[in-house]
Subunit: 330 residues, 4 copies
């Protein structure tokens, strides 16, 4: 059995716990969580230990994997501790909101080379990954354009938004990373951003409701990312790869594959799976499967600490473009 | 110019006239029609001659094509006259409701070999014809099953239904013919029919609202035809060809290719094109194009007098199956 | 914990075992299986008891559910034993190949009223069930036609086919049951069948490769079922419900929701999920969920012993129609 | 009859001539064209007059409509002449490549108020117009984002490209106009552009192979336009309107509505209609229909001289953004 210490038992932590508990080779040994009622819930559901002194967790030899889904500001600290103690690490995105902290840790990561997987779950989605494989198999020739649509069904609570780091660091960070996933060795050089808000509260909290970022890579690939904090028809997740010999699209997942016809419409389909926990359920489990294989030294991570760093760099470039009203060099 | 004498200027006749008038090599010389107000309309729209004595039309050397869209009971008579006068002939389906009359004429047709095209418009539809070509190119291997759905948006007037010959001879006759189109040299050997009526007036007029006919060919291909006299979501026209290496589907045509998404549905599409004049507009024009080529001896007809005869034979077999509650040999 | 004794640990039994082991309230206490290597596998995977004397299993008070996925000819015997011992029962389809055996047991079932669920897994499929709910909510008005397509990707081994009871009792039995599921209180009165075989071995073993059955209900609903023992493009599972105010379709499930475009094709999608274990994975788990609820007296079974009996009656009627070349009254 | 003088009988002119000749109320009286072989073709096809002195055409009282599809640099001159002579005017896009010439003429247009329709054919496409109507009917609530994809199947000859004014003025001008069509009274305020070229000849002729322009309106609507001079899978024409209550998509048109399934793919569809003459055939005819209605004072033009002016202004802003690497205010 591979023993996991799970840091953070909030909404995402609970989802990870459910997946961990279903994996046959994994056991949740510890949960580290500040809120007492969540601790109780963790014990009830998974019969795990609760330890308030995280040092004891890191020094426990029985712990194999440090699984970090605690608040963003704690990520770097726990990664550093886990590295010191030679644990395998999983960390949720974003790494941190402060890029200089990340750069400092990146240097250590490059030296120590821990087994670390970053939580860019979309890289693991069967559909999104299927078009990556087809791209690499040359099914559409050379990649020329990437168009990503990502719309949340509804905004998170304002309290969450306030400390989220903003739409580019909190939400579009996934899409920055996905562009890099498809670009492979090619890297993004230029970034431009537009944002817009129709609900007045976004301006009050200095965030944005809608955002469109365009980017250009060294090779000349143009990337378009379009985000919205709301979407009346569900969690809209689409990727389009345009190549000189074809196009690949990874589309939405629906409740079921039924269609309805009446006098006003034809082929009307069911709503999209509502949000990331449902839509990316397979992705989260495949991510976990690869984490276990990484721990066993069988594969390299599909998403690394450095991927987390560059995604944040692109988010910061988007903010700079917005402020300066310029095309920004990365 | 190729001179056409158009017999019948009712709804279908008017549609044919509009298509004839747009064909660059064709001129409508005569219209033969009993109703005075339709004669007036024909003159106004096409500046053609009206001749009440059809013998004069058949004996006019300038007439090249006899185009028959008059009532069913007149078809055979006009075909016979046209044959005698060596005209090229187009005739709407069905040939007649009385099969022995057809058999008599068939003998003459086999002897005289007139240039005659039967109005099985669906054989000319770009979609339906496209899957025929793909089938013949071996794209799905050997044909094993044909499934045809054909539903009218709403029933014709009861007055029409009463003299229509019934659902098998009036409506399903197209589908019997389409099965034969895809079967090629293979022929249908066995027929079975079920019908049903929910609106009470169908029983009163001894017709049926819904019908399902299954058939089996010499080679073993099973055909399924499903008809309905009403369809709340429009004119539903679908063909499915199942082969040992694949499947081909010819689907419906819609008002336009737009989609609508809201909180209750996704990818909702526009209604189907409403009825045969819109849905098979391309088919009717391609049919006319081939009629002109047939007249010029450039091609053989895609649909023949004999096709009209066999389709009626199958319709009669369906009635026999219904009556005897048996699988009927053709 | 609810203790289950699983009868039969072949391909289907193993799938059920995997689902049972994932259900939080259920424990596999016994596996009853004749083949020693399968017994070993069961112990290894589920740490369960192996008992060769099934009487000991039935008399063990700790056993709550008898889960029957053993060969068809053993079903009735185990159901009878389970009834006597007041166990909750799950039984795979078909109940038996001999209808008089079923009728005898049916009498006891009606008297003893055991908690029994029949393995008509398709009733539990989220898509197929979704259109049932929409039908019952009157979304398409009154039901007028049911069209079911069911094609297996490839035939089972000949050894299996020989003792399967034939295509109607082994394969189409699901579709007979599904028609009844959608018909609700309406019942099927008339049946007609066509079959065909292109591979010669089917005739040798007196089975059929393709089958089409049409049926008519008391109310006048026409049902069309089309089956094939092979399908080059995967496990084809479609249902179409046609009503006087609309149509509902439950379609196929694909590997993922990606599309491919190149110079020869557009919107090309991935293959279907390959076979029933993948395609009906959700259905099997929802079936199990309802079995547990049935055991706890919280719901009535969605599929009953009587459903199993009537489905076989329809299969037999289909054979009779084939033999007599007649429409057969049920 | 409404008499038309057609200026220019090249590829587009010939297409317009074919449509004009099919319109029942219109006659092509003159063709004005410099190339002798095209003049011959015009006479042969339409039995029209050829006049090399265009002043004689403008002064001919019988001429009702001046239909301009001659080279871009002649547009303004012919519009000015037509205005003076009180003709109804149709003019192909773009108005001119020099914005100051346009501004001068615009002043006269505002004063004289001629009946003039600009050739932004996409506004007339049944699909694109259908989503405009649905938007105006409030089907998706308030408009928040417009995403337009427009890809030509292959680039025009280099000779054409050299004098075309470049991708923004020649090709994307349609998409600039379409954004304005959907925005209604709202106006675009900010523009940003990225371009890219993989084929080396584009750099040689100072044009671009791919372009992405993002724009923001006064109300905050974000527009994304993505263009490519090549597209292996055909003429890709898509519009997506995202509103706070839903989404509307106008999609591509295909050769026919057939689908193909085999062991490697499902629901594979036919290629797109290849290029603008086929794809926008209905649009061109509806445009002409409205031109005739405009001539009869029955409607206002759907696309005006001013629309042509603003579209060019946006194209110029895109070039400025590209050069300055900035977000540009219009």
């Amino acid at each position: 059995m591979i023993n996991v210490a799970l840091f953070g038992f909030g909404r995402i932590g609970q989802m990870h716990a459910a997946n961990l508990s279903k994996h046959k080779e994994v056991k949740i040994l510890y949960v580290y969580e500040k809120l007492p009622h969540l601790n109780k819930l963790a014990i009830k559901l998974y019969n795990c230990k609760i330890e308030n002194d995280y040092n004891k967790i890191f020094s426990d030899k029985k712990v194999n994997i440090i699984f970090i889904s605690s608040p963003t500001k704690t990520h770097i600290k726990f990664i550093e501790e886990a590295m010191k103690n030679k644990k395998t690490i999983f960390c949720e995105k974003p790494l941190d909101l402060n890029i200089s902290r990340i750069i400092k840790t990146l240097k250590k990561v490059k030296k120590i080379k821990p087994k670390i997987q970053l939580g860019f779950n979309r890289r693991y989605d069967p559909g999104h990954f299927s078009i990556k494989k087809d791209l690499d198999r040359n099914k559409i020739g050379k990649l020329e354009k990437i168009i990503i649509t990502s719309r949340d069904p509804s905004p998170p609570p304002i309290s969450y938004l306030k400390s989220s780091g903003g739409i580019f660091r909190d939400m579009m960070i996934h899409d920055f990373d996905l562009c890099r996933f498809y670009l492979g060795k090619d890297e993004i050089e230029q970034v431009h951003a537009f944002t817009s808000s129709f609900q007045p509260f976004y301006k009050r909290i200095k965030d944005h409701e809608l955002a469109v970022v365009t980017m250009k890579s060294k090779r000349g690939v143009i990337c378009v990312i379009t985000n919205s904090r709301h979407c009346s028809f569900g969690y809209d997740q689409r990727i389009e790869l345009f190549g000189n010999n074809g196009m690949l699209i990874s589309g939405n997942k629906k409740e079921n594959s039924t269609e309805f016809f009446n006098s006003r419409q034809t082929n009307s389909q069911k709503p999209f799976l509502n949000f990331f926990i449902e839509r990316y359920n397979d992705a989260y489990n495949l991510q976990l499967k690869e984490l276990v294989l990484l721990h066993k030294n069988k594969i390299n991570p599909r998403s690394t600490f450095e991927d987390g760093y560059i995604a944040l760099k692109l988010a910061n470039a988007a903010y700079k473009s917005l402020k300066l009203k310029k095309t920004v060099k990365v």
